[in-house]
Amino acid sequence: MESTTNPEALQAEVGRHVAPVLVSVYTTSGAYPRHGHEKVKPTEIVADFLREAAKALHLTDTSGWVATVDGREIDASRSFADNHLAGMVKIHWGPREGGGGR
């Protein structure tokens, strides 16, 4: 194998060899995919996957929603790998709690 020091090329090389993340998204308006999971690259940005879910589930307003995995809030602007998500991942996606008196 050729070696490279180019970070983008390295990232692409890693992406070709690491195991995909098996992802499903759960909302109270449905699950995406409806059954099972989607295979995504660990380098995929979580928000991009959530956008696909929103479209499939016909969610019109997800502003202020938060994604959690096992109760832990994840950073949707970053990749699955950046969020230390691997293997089978079930994301719960929904509105953030309101404050008291609101």
Binding site: T28, A31, E97
Partner: protein, 145 residues
């Protein structure tokens, strides 16, 4: 609101809950049948909390919420929670702890919030059945007891 319309709205929304949703969230859904959702929140190391929402007259009226223990007994006191959603009360109408958050009947009929009637929230993002339930669950997750 006519009961058939209310029931239809309720059943359409809860019919969208994915079958695995409860398992993913750590919920035990004791009852999901018009007009009641009886949902127990569970999490390792936490005392479960059972939330009963009564959707009579949905969505003309916000659901009435009551907080219970695992056995279904109404709670007369609450564990601390940093969000303020779980108000120890007593509520001036019910005399019990209550959910102090928009989307719950006891909030809108509380003297402190009479200027925020349910009509201001009804039909808006964040105030459908699943979203109300989710927001209360997330508030519960912020607690530690």
């Amino acid at each position: 609101m006519h009961i058939a319309v209310s029931r239809s709205l309720f059943e359409e929304r809860v019919g969208r809950f994915p079958p695995d949703l409860a398992a993913v969230c750590g919920w035990i859904l004791h009852t999901v049948a018009y007009p009641v959702i009886d949902c127990e929140f569970t999490r390792a190391g936490r005392t479960p909390l059972r939330l009963q929402l009564d959707f009579t007259d949905w969505d003309e009226q916000a659901p009435s919420g009551s907080l219970r223990n695992s056995a279904g007994e109404v709670l007369l006191s609450l564990p601390p929670n940093p969000t303020g959603v779980f108000n120890p009360g007593p509520h001036p109408v019910t005399g019990r702890p209550f959910l102090c958050t928009a989307g719950i009947k006891e909030y809108h009929i509380h003297p402190s919030h009479l200027n925020e009637p349910w009509d201001q929230f009804r039909g808006k993002p964040g105030f459908d059945i699943g979203e109300i339930l989710t927001k209360i669950w997330r508030a519960w997750l912020k607690g530690t007891a």
